[in-house]
């Protein structure tokens, strides 16, 4: 039974490697193989999540045991379920989208091989039971997604890839320091709600441990693009759009946030950290990133880069909520993780369709595009409203939960975070409105001849778009059960 948890991870890695070896020549066969593997992995992953949800205490699944302290083992808990479910729900949809999108880009077998393998690795991060496993999959994720970022293999892509690897590996190295200290001062490396630190051992060394925590936070924070280590993310937007959509809006960046979640709530423990200067240091960094990301987004005319900066800002909503170090903060972070994932992935897919169908990448080229691509810009507009935070759409619920948590924490420093969130709402409105206002309400003379050749993409692209947009709305409208579930997760009463 507990092997079910390992199954999706192993199978998808094997299937991914299989694709790069087999290299099926026939397009139909390859597409069937890809869709089949992704669906199989997603199905298994959901099965594992549901099985874990049914069981009272999900048993751990140990893959490799090095010693009594070190092992590679998996166990699905509440947080794993949330992150695993987001990833497993979105991966098949985006695969459907990218089969069409990537059909003209070349080297599909290599691309989709790594694509399938990285699905498994992300699930590994989600299902990891202890810091060592998390670390292993975390490093693997960097390596397995690198070929996806560098797919085009031109000058820009290679530069972006190098930057991505250097940032991520360096960040992971910092994180490793933290894991060593956790081993030294903790009772176990397994994730334990409330922290693993042995307070007797830690007594007297608080300052060192806080410093180590800050290092580790920034180390994991690199993937979550925290200021000043987020520079790789906008550059990585040279990757093919499905990669930007799935990895740079959901899987990779949220893996960073997820690792921070594990670190704070299941590693050092909130009791140890709350009220320390370390908490204020990381909270300040998150607040600064919220504003920095949004301000840079406003000043970036390239659509995908703008979305990337918007991701930087929104990820720090999540990090800010995590640094509140209260159960309510955890709820806010998980809620925003869910809603932001759905919304941002939709927007990136729209961006991909725009770039592919019109060849225009800069927003000042979008004058009048709305009427030519109504589905794409329609879904984009709805998602933009959600991102801005117009109730009752998703972004608002996330923001609401975060701000409520910030108020409840009764920490005056967190009040600045609320201010930052409101300021970011304003900036989000401006950087989103300038995109679709141009598209719907063109100014000046519009080149109708050039526009007349542009139209909505085919159903393989528009269906995922509409499903995603609809999912975002439905998820937000019926978010009561989700929030209840997250609250149970945050109190570890699952």
């Amino acid at each position: 039974m507990q092997w079910l948890q390992a199954l999706p991870i192993l199978i998808s890695v094997v299937l991914g490697i299989g694709l790069t070896i087999l290299q099926p020549g026939e397009r139909k066969v390859r597409n069937a193989y890809i869709m089949g593997s992704v669906m199989l992995t997603a199905g298994l992953s959901f099965a594992a999540i549901i099985a874990a949800g049914m069981a009272d205490t999900a048993p751990a699944c140990t893959l490799v045991r090095f010693s009594s302290e070190f092992s590679i083992s998996l166990r699905i808990d509440g947080c794993s379920m949330v992150y695993g479910a987001i990833v497993s729900a979105l991966w098949p949809l985006i695969t459907l989208y990218s089969l069409d999108y990537m059909s003209h880009e070349g080297h599909e077998s290599r691309f989709f091989g790594f694509w399938i393998a990285s699905f498994g690795v992300v699930l590994g991060i989600a299902f990891a039971e202890d810091f060592l496993t998390l670390y292993l999959f975390y490093e693997l994720l960097t390596l397995v997604t690198l070929p996806l970022v560098m797919h085009f293999m031109d000058e820009k892509a290679r530069y972006a890839g190098r930057k991505y690897v250097v940032y991520s590996l360096a960040g992971a190295a910092f994180a490793f320091i933290g894991i060593v200290f956790l081993l030294r001062y903790g009772t176990t490396l397994d994730f334990t709600y409330g922290g693993v630190l042995d307070l007797a051992k830690a007594a007297g060394n608080e300052t060192t441990l806080w410093a180590v925590f800050v290092l580790t936070f920034f180390g994991f924070g690199v993937k979550a693009a925290i200021f000043p280590f987020g520079a790789w993310l906008p550059d990585a937007s040279v990757a093919p759009t499905p990669v930007s959509a799935l990895l740079h809006a959901v899987a990779v960046v949220k893996a960073g946030a997820f690792a921070v979640l594990r670190l704070i709530y299941f590693g050092f423990g909130t009791d140890f950290l709350r009220g320390s200067w370390a908490q204020y240091a990381v909270m300040t960094a998150a607040i600064l990133t919220i504003i920095y990301g949004a301000a840079r987004a406003l000043r970036t005319p390239h659509l995908k880069r703008r979305l990337a900066f918007s991701t930087v800002s929104n990820l720090s909503y999540i990090l800010f909520s995590l640094t509140l170090m209260t159960p309510a903060g955890l709820v806010g972070a998980l809620a925003h993780m869910v809603y932001h994932a759905v919304v941002k992935i939709t927007m990136f897919c729209c961006a991909g369709s725009i770039i592919q169908k019109s060849g225009r990448e800069y927003i000042y080229e979008f004058e009048g595009l709305g009427r030519r691509m109504p589905v794409v810009f329609g879904t984009f507009t709805v998602s933009a409203f959600a991102l801005i935070g117009v109730p009752p759409l998703g972004g608002f619920v996330g923001k609401w939960m975060i701000c409520t948590a910030a108020v409840l924490s009764e920490d005056p420093w967190a009040y600045f975070g609320i201010g930052a969130l409101i300021l970011s709402t304003l900036l989000t409105t401006l950087y989103m409105m300038t995109i679709f206002v141009r598209a719907w309400f063109p100014v000046g003379t519009v080149d109708h001849e050039a526009l007349s050749k542009i139209h909505d993409p085919g159903p393989a692209m528009t269906i995922p778009l509409m499903v995603l947009a609809a999912a975002g709305i439905v998820l937000a409208l019926f978010s009561a059960p989700l929030i209840e579930f997250l609250q149970a997760v945050s109190l570890n009463t699952l």
Partner: protein, 481 residues
Amino acid sequence: MLLLPILLPIFGGVFVFREREEKTRNRLTLGLTVMTAVAAGILCALPEQSLRLMTIEGSLYLALQSDSLGKFFMVLISGIWLPVAVFAEPYLRHGGKGQQFQGFYTMTMGMLMGLALADNFVTLYMFFELMTLLTAPLVLHGGTPAARRAGLKYLGYSVFGAGMALAGYFFLSHFLTDQSFTGGGALNLPLAAAHRPLLLIVFLVMTIGFGAKAGMMPMQAWLPTAHPVAPAPASAVLSGVITKGGVLAIIRVTYYLFGAEFLRGSWAQYALIALALCTVFTGSMLALKEKSLKKRLAYSTVSQVSYVLFGLLLLSPGGVRGALLQMTFHALAKDTLFLAAGAIIVATNFTHVDQLAGIGKRMPRTMVCFSGAALSIIGIPPMSGFISKWYLASAALNFEVRALGYLGVAMLILSALMTAGYLLPIVVRGFFPGRDVLVERREVGPRMTAPMLVMSIAVLVLGLFPNGLQAWISTLLPQIF
């Protein structure tokens, strides 16, 4: 039933967008507006109702109710929206792109109805934001770079203002006994008394935030930018009704969440009164110096809506009475002025005050309406504006802090003088241009003059017979306090 006036224009608006045939579209827009107004009217006749739409978490839920303030507001919206819709048809033929305008125009009405019917802050915030987002295309309508800048400025100010209010609410919600709007306030008083300084800051922030929409300083700058570039019907409703959306939100926050009792005599109240008075003065001052007609009217709105806020912030029944009267009369009169400005643009393309010499001979009907409305804005009896200003002044005289009350009255009188200074010359030079000016008669058609006439007659009639409205407000007041 509660959903009807909200959903009708929203879904109807979709059809307005899709309808390319102009005549059908005009009929559809008018029909929808009338139907919404009727639905709102029926709702007003029915006893108070409430409806829980959805619950997400704890205090995060959407709910509607039709209390008497909401009803009052719905009638006001319907009364303005209809004539302006009639006016908009020929105006848009002149300007083009009617589909887009009428679609958004219709949908905005639904949002305003929702704003009036909102039962808690979250619902109010939702409709407030949607109203902002849907009215932005009305400002953007011109399709010029200036229009786009103005539209974004409008969005920025409104969204940031609403965001400030939302930030305040995060704090406030923990001190409320009841998340839904309750006349007299919903604060948990013993708990709130312990955190009074914090709550007063929250009140200040929320009021300034919503005040952005109502054109209160320090966030009034969007008004004079947005109005000149928007088409005249859009400026009319922006000035007449949308700014009142901000006022409504402030009423809800002040009287239905905090409660007058808690706020009375606090520094936050005095600070906000001072801000409102500053706005009254500065708005009039800037209007006096402004030469572009629509911009002058926009500054006038800045000044006049702050009369309303001043009345509200006095936190006395007399002040609220004056404020509600001023809100109604200003909406009617200012809309007439903006429509007249639009008619002048259609007939002559004049936008500047200096060009308007002799305009009264060219467009007598328009200018008669303009004059009537101008007199009301200044506050000359028997026009209705006089009555509202009378109540405001008498409420100010009864204010607990004498100095501030007298200052308020002085400001009102000063501002009235300045208002006369910036509106009367237009009228006087329009009708008596001197001998040298040659004029030919170029009146606009009846579809444009009729709405202006109706509204200016309403301004006069309500001034002569204010008893009905007065009685209605009298039944409303006990529910607010």
